[in-house]
Amino acid sequence: MVLTRSQPTQARTRRRPTEGRRGLLARMPSWAPVLISIAVFLAAWQLLVTFGGISQLVLPSPLSVAEQVVIVTQQLFVGGFLAGQLWITVQEILLGFVLAVVVGVIVGIVVGLTSFGRRGIMPLFVLLDATPKIAFAPVFIAWFGFGIASKFLMAAFMSIFPIIVSTAQGVAAVEPDELKLFQSMKASRWDIFWKLRVHRALPYLFTGLKIAVVACLTGAVAAEFIGGGIGFGEQVRVAAARIALDRVFALIFFLSLLGLALFMSVAWLEKRLTFWNVRS
């Protein structure tokens, strides 16, 4: 139906008037669909395990995973061993991310603002970014040892390329009209950088940061996986070695929450800092 009487709810979907069959769904609060699909997913999983004759050691049931989630949560709250391991991983991620952002943004600016950087260095980064960086994990361990250093450096290594590339794109992607405006106002290169390029680069940068923050988590976990010794990712590996698959899933669940929290923080910051970037 093309013709629809306009109703209050229609404003939201203004862009697609032909698709405006507004039923139950439209009247649900916004969290309801998420809960519904989670519930359906969990129910299907439980049925598969119950009636599929699959060993718990191969695919644990959601119920036993939930039990482990409860147990892990309790342990985390008590603040014992597991909380310490989580804290180690959090440190690795945060240190790695901060390092990647600081170095990546600086390198990205240099690369993006100089002709040599764009033509001579950028292709190298594309090459490096196309390597499966996880293959470097043993090298990092050998260089930087078994402590936190090799892990956060690996996390930084995994996450720095999207930051460099997006920063370089960002600082190079100034609006010609705005550049002309600044030039006509006799702005210095310094002012053009700080009062124009930086702002225009932010939306690009945040695109890179959102990819990077997830890559950073992956990097820390991968380094622990391969390098062993410490951290929450290592606990996943220990649980896997003990064939405690329900525990594995429960621990992964916490890692996902951590990833989501980091992602959301970056997204929140993006919204605050690039509030002006409304699609025109």
Binding site: I54, S55, Q56, L57, V58, P138, I141, A142, W143, G145, F146, I226, G227, G228, G229, E234, R237, V238, A240, A241, R242, I243, L245
Partner: protein, 323 residues
């Protein structure tokens, strides 16, 4: 037996040429570590025993046990402790043969450190190759025999090969507990090591052949044939080490690029694979299994009584292995 075979069609169905198909998963991707398997394969010993064997390589006992439970493979070569853990969770996978009667692990220190006895490791850090528990309990057993508590030393997972070398060079570890071939690799890289294992771990045999109980029930003949071929592979390789290089060239050529590397491996491995106590190849002792299970209980890995020793292994096939 024919009826049972029809029931369990998944395992060992008769293939063209009258050979029975069987798949086995090794817990390591190293060819040298499991050289009897590859020599048997390369020399056609499995065919001679009426089998068509497919060999897979994985990382770690847990993955192999899961693959067996998921029906991905018939046989595996897990360690005893992961097998105990599997039984504790209600799955019936049993040892049918002991592949490493001489023990799988060694505790070593760099020669230059001058440490010649485990008792000198008080307050030091012991590196282990994997966190899968075997090396850790191995190290604990040695230290306990010296009267040291777990709090008297540190355990650090460092991985294998280059990572262990780096750990020594950086001074992150003072001793290293690893599989004997892992130790051989480090020595071969030019770091002389002293073996300080001692004899407290004499009862700790290494990885073995394991299979689901139903398969042991339904097709013992094929499993016997498999063990027989494996044993023959081991014996042929001991007589002619070149067979190992030939077999591994097809599977993991990187490992046999350097003949001295191969020699170092075989020098280290063969003594622990050979039966020296006069018992038939593959057999296991009730007493050793009880001690290993007790260790697992003491470490809190399983509850007392959760696993029965009698369910963990069977010596029923040993005669077949040695026929």
């Amino acid at each position: 037996a024919e009826e049972a075979e029809q029931q369990d069609g998944a395992e060992g169905s008769a293939a063209a040429g009258g050979l029975t198909e069987l798949s086995v998963a090794a817990v390591s991707t190293s060819c040298l570590q499991f050289f009897p398997l590859y020599v048997a394969q390369e020399q056609g010993l499995f065919e001679e025993n009426g089998l068509d064997v497919q060999v897979e390589r994985m990382n770690g006992s847990a993955a192999v046990l899961q693959a067996m439970l998921a029906g991905q493979t018939d046989l595996g070569t897990p360690g005893p402790v992961p097998t105990i853990l599997t039984q504790a969770q209600g799955e019936d996978i049993r040892y049918i043969a002991n592949l490493w009667p001489g023990g799988a692990f060694a505790l070593v220190t760099p020669e230059e450190s001058g440490v010649a006895d485990a008792s000198e490791l008080t307050g030091k850090t012991i590196g282990v190759a994997t966190a899968d528990g075997s090396e850790v309990s191995f190290a604990h057993t040695i230290m306990a025999a010296e009267g040291l508590e777990e709090s008297d030393y540190e355990i650090l997972t460092v991985g294998e090969g280059g990572q262990a070398v780096a750990a020594f060079q950086r001074g992150d570890i003072d001793a290293y507990a690893a599989s004997i071939d892992g130790v051989a690799i480090i020595e071969h890289a030019g770091i002389p090591l002293s073996n300080i294992t001692g004899d407290a771990t004499g009862y700790l045999f290494g990885n073995g052949l394991a299979a689901p109980a139903e398969l042991i029930e339904s097709d013992p003949e094929s499993l016997e044939a498999f063990g027989n071929a494996y044993r023959q592979g081991l014996e042929m390789a001991i007589d002619d080490r070149q067979l190992v290089t030939d077999a591994c060239a097809a599977v993991q050529p990187q490992e046999v690029e350097d003949p001295t590397y191969v020699e170092a491996h075989l020098d280290a491995l063969i003594p622990s694979l050979e039966r020296t106590d006069g018992e038939p190849w593959g057999s296991m002792s009730q007493e050793h299994w009880e001690m290993i299970l007790q260790d697992a209980v003491d470490m809190g890995e399983v509850e007392e009584g959760e696993v029965e020793v009698d369910n963990l292994y069977t010596n029923d096939l040993v005669d077949g292995f040695n026929s």
